[in-house]
């Protein structure tokens, strides 16, 4: 397995200071000021994406200053959750042993912790104070060890006894500060779960907490897909024995119909700017791929084959569409441009390749491939090179891959422990953890954007 090692701090000014100064001016106008113009060291992990590169952090002894009963335990709980978020980013390792009372809730990767103090790149200092359990003050500082300087300081008001979102916010800030990578701790995953004879849509935080049901219509609700800004969800539902596409507005909690063409109304994928969808319809007599508006109006039919054409998804630029076709007699993954031309085949091995998902970074595509009678997840570069298995024979069946905004983690549905449930896979390190639990039947996951989605920007794709 991989080993935790720290990366050398990079000194000197970063490019783009003019932009920073301009942004600082804007921030100042808005009454916010941060010392962003200071040249700051960054632990540059992008040079080597082996999955084993991690910035190692240590946690100082907790500082608790409160007469509130349980404050000490609450501080330890917050610290443990914060460290778990950092480890789950894939970019950060944690020095062990931890300060008294702090435990990191599992499951954790074997390589997420280290006991070598010499490798610590930054220290985290946490303080909990306050006299009211519902208004505790949580302060956090991130201090680089060498050269010694404060990288980040945050203060939050939190309610004790909850699993506050502020922990996830802080974790993302720390990951970004240390690595330049956008964290995923504030993201959520949307999926379809069997309920009675139907399926309903559910949401769960990226760490498996905060499960909630978001549809209750007793029908089959399938393959939900977030809009790029996270404000809307397009999904397939059945009504009066017909399939149709609905859009659920987050602001109102109401769904409206956008397409109920005769036959299939399936597999919507939003364009990166949220103005269009690619879908599978069979209104012209056969499953084919179309671009439509969010109103349901058909803009263009993209495929004209007598075979099955399905599972379309835009690339992060919106210029290309990856999809499945069985024009050769078996399903294979293809890429075409958004007008339907310049088609090329992406999956070159195997006789069942499906469910392609283009990474938000643009640099790789995950898909499902049947191997020896089981379904496994593979990744491949957009030029069909660098094919690599993410799951193997010992992992059961693995389907429905969907990328996290970081382009590093996948959520899949897998029956590896006997139940069809969701798992999160770190494609770079190989770490896998169950996302949902219990006797469930889950499928069709889709990973949502962070509250503000810098990593959804397709221009940031160079690695």
């Amino acid at each position: 397995m991989s080993v935790s090692i720290s990366s050398p701090a990079r000194k000197g000014p970063k490019p783009g200071r003019g932009v920073l100064l301009l942004a600082g001016l804007i921030a100042g106008i808005l009454g916010v000021q941060r010392a962003e113009a200071q040249p700051r060291p960054v632990f540059d992990l992008e040079v080597n994406r082996t999955g084993a590169e991690r910035v190692v952090v240590s946690l100082d002894p907790l500082d608790v200053d409160s007469p509130v009963e349980g404050a000490q335990e609450a501080a330890a709980d917050l610290a443990g959750r914060l460290l778990r978020d950092l480890i789950y980013s894939g970019w950060v390792g944690v020095l062990t042993p931890l300060p008294d009372g702090v435990e990191i809730p599992g499951p954790l990767p074997g390589a997420g912790r280290t006991d070598e103090e010499s490798r610590v790149g930054a220290r985290i200092s946490l303080r909990l104070s306050g006299v009211r359990p519902d208004q505790m003050v949580w302060e956090a500082r991130l201090v680089q060890v060498e050269p010694r300087s404060q990288l980040l300081g945050k203060r939050y008001v939190i309610e004790m006894g909850t699993s506050p979102r502020q922990v996830h916010h802080l974790a993302d800030q720390i990951v970004r500060e240390l690595t330049g990578e956008a964290g995923i701790a504030q993201t959520r995953i949307l999926f379809s779960r069997k309920v009675g004879t139907g399926r309903e849509l559910f949401l769960v935080d990226y760490d498996g907490e905060h499960l909630r049901q978001i549809t209750r219509n007793g029908s089959l609700n399938l393959v939900p897909r977030w809009s790029p800004d996270g404000s809307r969800i397009c999904y397939t539902s059945y009504w009066k024995g017909r399939q149709r596409l609905l859009v659920l507005e987050g602001a109102t909690g109401k769904s409206r119909k956008i397409a109920d063409y005769r036959g299939l109304n399936l597999g919507a994928s939003w364009s990166p700017d949220g103005t269009e969808l690619v879908v599978t319809l069979s209104r012209d007599g056969n499953p084919e791929i179309y671009r439509i508006l969010p109103t349901g109006k058909v803009l263009q039919r993209l495929t004209f084959e007598p075979s099955i054409e399905c599972s379309p998804m835009f690339d992060p630029t919106g210029h290309q569409v990856v999809f499945t076709s069985d024009r050769t007699g078996v399903p294979q993954v293809y890429v075409m441009d958004r007008e339907g031309s310049r088609r090329r085949r992406l999956s070159l091995q195997g006789r069942y390749n499906e469910s392609a998902a283009w990474s938000p970074r643009g640099d790789r595509i995950a898909f499902v491939s049947r191997r020896n009678g089981r379904f496994q997840v593979f990744v491949v570069a957009p030029d069909a090179s660098e094919l690599r298995a993410v799951t193997g024979a010992e992992d059961g069946n693995n389907e429905d891959p969907a990328w996290a905004p970081d382009g590093r983690h996948l959520v899949v549905s897998s029956d590896r422990d006997g139940q069809r449930r969701l798992w999160v896979l770190d494609v770079d390190s190989g770490f896998a953890r169950p996302l949902t639990n219990g006797a469930v039947d889950d499928n069709g996951p889709h990973w949502g954007p962070p509250p503000v989605a810098p990593s959804a920007d397709p221009t940031r794709r160079n690695r």
């Binding site: 970063k14 942004a23 916010h169 987050g250 069979s282």
Partner: protein
């Protein structure tokens, strides 16, 4: 690359703060810069709090409490098979793995179904396409569609009115039998006939 990255990063912070309705503490506008520029770093862990940025999170658009009990509600409809006055006794047809071809047995079954449907032109029927659990959600939904459509096409070729026949695909989402092995799977690869309610008289 770096400049756009930093701009976005800062844009994010501006947006976050703009969205935050309340900044609880004063003091955002002082302190941090002098602390950060201190070359010795001695004051870095000072307890004054001047080096801290207050953060208030904005509302989660999909709610964090899961209280949207009517979310996604559609008109209450009984989606289960309904009792009808005439039972046409339509038999299902079955398919090979990843196939929508009708074999001789299926054609014989559909010939009998066609006779019943022609005898009751007032009856409407939904043909459901189903698949076994092997394979992906979307491809199986498309395959189930092909099975239902091929079944309808053959019935129409035998003289049944296309207006009597609706089709829908359930893919692998509504299996008839649960488990592994071809004895189970073969039962789930089918076109299933469901009679609709007769029209009001």
């Amino acid at each position: 690359m770096f400049s756009s990255q930093n701009l976005r990063r800062f844009g994010g912070i501006v947006l976050w703060t703009a969205l935050a309705s309340v900044v609880v503490f004063a003091g955002c506008d002082r302190g941090k810069e002098s602390v950060a520029t201190d070359p010795t770093g001695e004051d870095v862990l000072g307890r004054s709090g001047d080096d801290l940025e207050d953060v208030t999170l904005d509302q989660d658009p999909f709610g964090s409490s899961g209280e949207q009990t009517d979310a996604g509600a559609i008109d209450a409809e009984d989606l289960t098979d309904s009792a009808t006055e005439v039972d046409l006794q339509l038999e299902d047809v079955f398919f090979d793995y990843d196939s929508f071809e009708l074999d001789a047995t299926d054609r014989a079954t559909l010939a009998a179904n066609a006779r019943a449907l022609r005898a009751h032109p007032e009856m409407r029927v939904t043909i459901e396409g189903h698949c076994d659990e092997r394979g992906t959600v979307q491809y199986n939904l498309a395959l189930g569609e092909k099975r239902a459509r091929e079944t309808k096409r053959y019935l129409v070729s035998l003289g049944v009115s296309g207006g009597q026949l609706d089709i829908v695909s359930y893919g692998k989402e509504r299996p008839f039998a649960v488990g592994e092995g071809d004895a189970i799977w073969s039962q789930n690869r089918r076109a299933h006939f469901v009679q609709q309610l007769p029209p009001l008289r």
